[in-house]
């Protein structure tokens, strides 16, 4: 049973019915889902959650849509791994890695799309759509294929073919748009206004965004019903970052975990860092930027939830950190070499952001830390293509031994 009571403007608090709406008619502020927490508290318990499915739907009491198997790809409930190699490298005693790169279409977007698509069906839509440069397109196309829904995926025409393959394979209607990043944004806003579709991150965005709360719920459950001292998460629109914290706070509010003291740290890449720049300049006004980053999944120049991400940082006594563009691939490689997890650029941004937070003393060695890895590296292999450097030999043991000796010699001299 849904415990949603209404939608509400985050700016002026006007209330709206639970429909496909995302903007307040009066102040154009974003709408959010309002829950009846008394009602949730009456039914929720650790046991009830643990007896639920091994997916994000075990937290259905806290979500704005009913579980609908038609569009369920079993997203969520991804591994939380205790780090050894990376923790040792960074000098941390309790580091955890939330590996959300192993979702059905290989990113955390499967969570938000799972909730958005279930809600879209409840609201009577037969078509879902999105504007994306990668992960979101994959998630929308996959869930539509699973649920027999029509899918429209809008992409910039200059996107590398490899990035769209993961979406194209599910056979959505893919629309490649000529023009600048701003042109693509504008067209998609206009299309969303004119067509009767569930545009997952536009008209059903309030429901979509709440799918990311499960990243907070899961970590709290997997840590043995507690929130960590620190979270480090990559951020683009700021929505996921704010919703992780909301997840912890909702568990606290409904009695599932004790007081939350988590400090939330947002990581962005230098080439697109409007949230982190505002934080570092000590202001709450986001200055939109033109994205120019190798961490393409974080390339949102005008982040819809940037202001709210800054408020979460303030409320949690957290921070924002910028990873230099030439460090992104280094972060990807560091995670792969120390933990066996191959992430995309956003993960590299988070790992190097974590490293900086430790170096600057914001995170102490004996504190518990969770770093969120939200996308899979196999979609963006060009970022780290230089790692391919095999021993190339003739088919003989002698050739192998010579090559090994040369390799070991060169490693010793480095």
């Amino acid at each position: 049973m849904s415990h949603v009571s209404s939608l509400r403007c985050k700016e002026c608090s006007r209330e709206y019915p639970v429909e496909a709406l995302n903007v307040c008619d009066f102040c154009f502020g974003p709408l959010e889902v309002v829950y009846d927490y008394d009602s949730i508290t009456k039914v929720t318990s650790r046991e009830r959650i643990q007896s639920g499915p091994n997916s994000l739907w075990r937290y259905a009491d806290y979500l704005p849509a009913e579980h609908n198997p038609t569009v369920d790809l079993n997203a969520g409930f991804t591994p939380l791994l205790r780090s050894r190699g990376l923790a040792e490298r960074l000098g941390l005693k309790e580091l955890w890695i939330k590996n959300d790169s192993v979702n059905p279409s290989y990113s955390f977007k499967d969570r938000v799309v799972a909730v958005a698509s279930a809600k879209a069906l409840e609201l009577g839509f037969d078509t879902i759509a999105c504007a994306s440069t990668g992960n979101l397109a994959c998630a929308v196309a996959a869930v539509a294929a699973r649920g027999g829904m029509k899918a429209y995926v809008f992409i910039p025409s200059d996107l590398e073919a490899g990035k769209v393959l993961g979406a194209a394979i599910y056979n959505p209607t893919m629309v490649s748009i000529d023009g600048s990043y701003d042109d693509v944004n504008r067209l998609c806003s206009e299309v969303a206004d004119q067509y009767p579709w569930a545009f997952v991150n536009i008209n059903v965005r309030p429901f979509y965004a709440d799918g990311s709360k499960t990243l907070g719920f899961e970590v709290a459950e997997q840590l043995g019903w507690r929130a960590p001292d620190h979270v480090v998460a990559p951020s683009a629109s700021g929505a996921m970052f704010t919703k992780i914290y909301q997840g912890f706070k909702e568990f606290e509010l409904t009695g599932i975990i004790d007081d939350v003291h988590t400090q939330m740290h947002c990581a962005q890449a230098r080439g697109c860092s409007p949230i982190a720049t505002a934080y570092q300049e000590g202001r709450f006004v986001i200055r939109p930027v033109k994205p120019n980053s190798v961490a393409t999944s974080l390339a949102i120049g005008n982040p819809a939830d940037g202001y709210y991400a800054l408020k979460v940082i303030e409320a949690s006594n957290g921070s924002a950190v910028i990873t230099e563009e030439n460090e992104v691939a280094e972060g990807v490689k560091l995670l792969a070499e120390t933990e066996g997890i191959f992430t995309e650029g956003a993960g590299g941004v988070a790992v190097m952001g974590l490293k900086r937070l430790v170096e600057t003393g914001k995170i102490k060695s004996d504190e518990s830390v969770v770093v969120y890895i939200t996308g899979n590296g196999l979609k963006t292999t060009e970022l780290v293509a230089d790692v391919v450097n095999p021993l190339h030999i003739e088919p003989s043991v002698e050739a192998f031994e010579i090559a090994m000796a040369e390799r070991m010699g060169s490693q010793r001299s480095e």
Binding site: F28, Y181, V184, A192, R287, L298, N302, A304
Partner: protein, 81 residues
């Protein structure tokens, strides 16, 4: 063709003193309706609705951009990773 757009203007430094919204109403025959704003030292933004012929809106926004005003959709970017 008549149209309505919801946009966010971001002004930096010297542009805060410019009557940009007044001028796009006067010079491009569009109706502007401010819904929310925040002006601080060195930076400010205004979220407004602009109504008029689509071509007039396009010209008005183009002129604002040429001055150095950053023009974005009021709801933020919709293209995600």
């Amino acid at each position: 063709m008549a149209a309505i757009e919801k946009v966010r203007f971001t002004f930096l430094d010297r542009l805060i003193k410019e009557p940009v919204i007044y001028r796009i109403g006067r010079d491009y025959d569009v109706v502007t309706n401010i819904r929310r704003a925040d002006i601080q030292e060195g930076i400010g933004w205004v979220i407004l609705e602009i109504e008029g012929e689509q071509s007039a809106i396009d010209q008005a926004l183009g002129w604002a951009r040429s001055l150095g005003v950053r023009v974005d959709p009021a709801v933020g970017d919709v293209v995600e990773g």
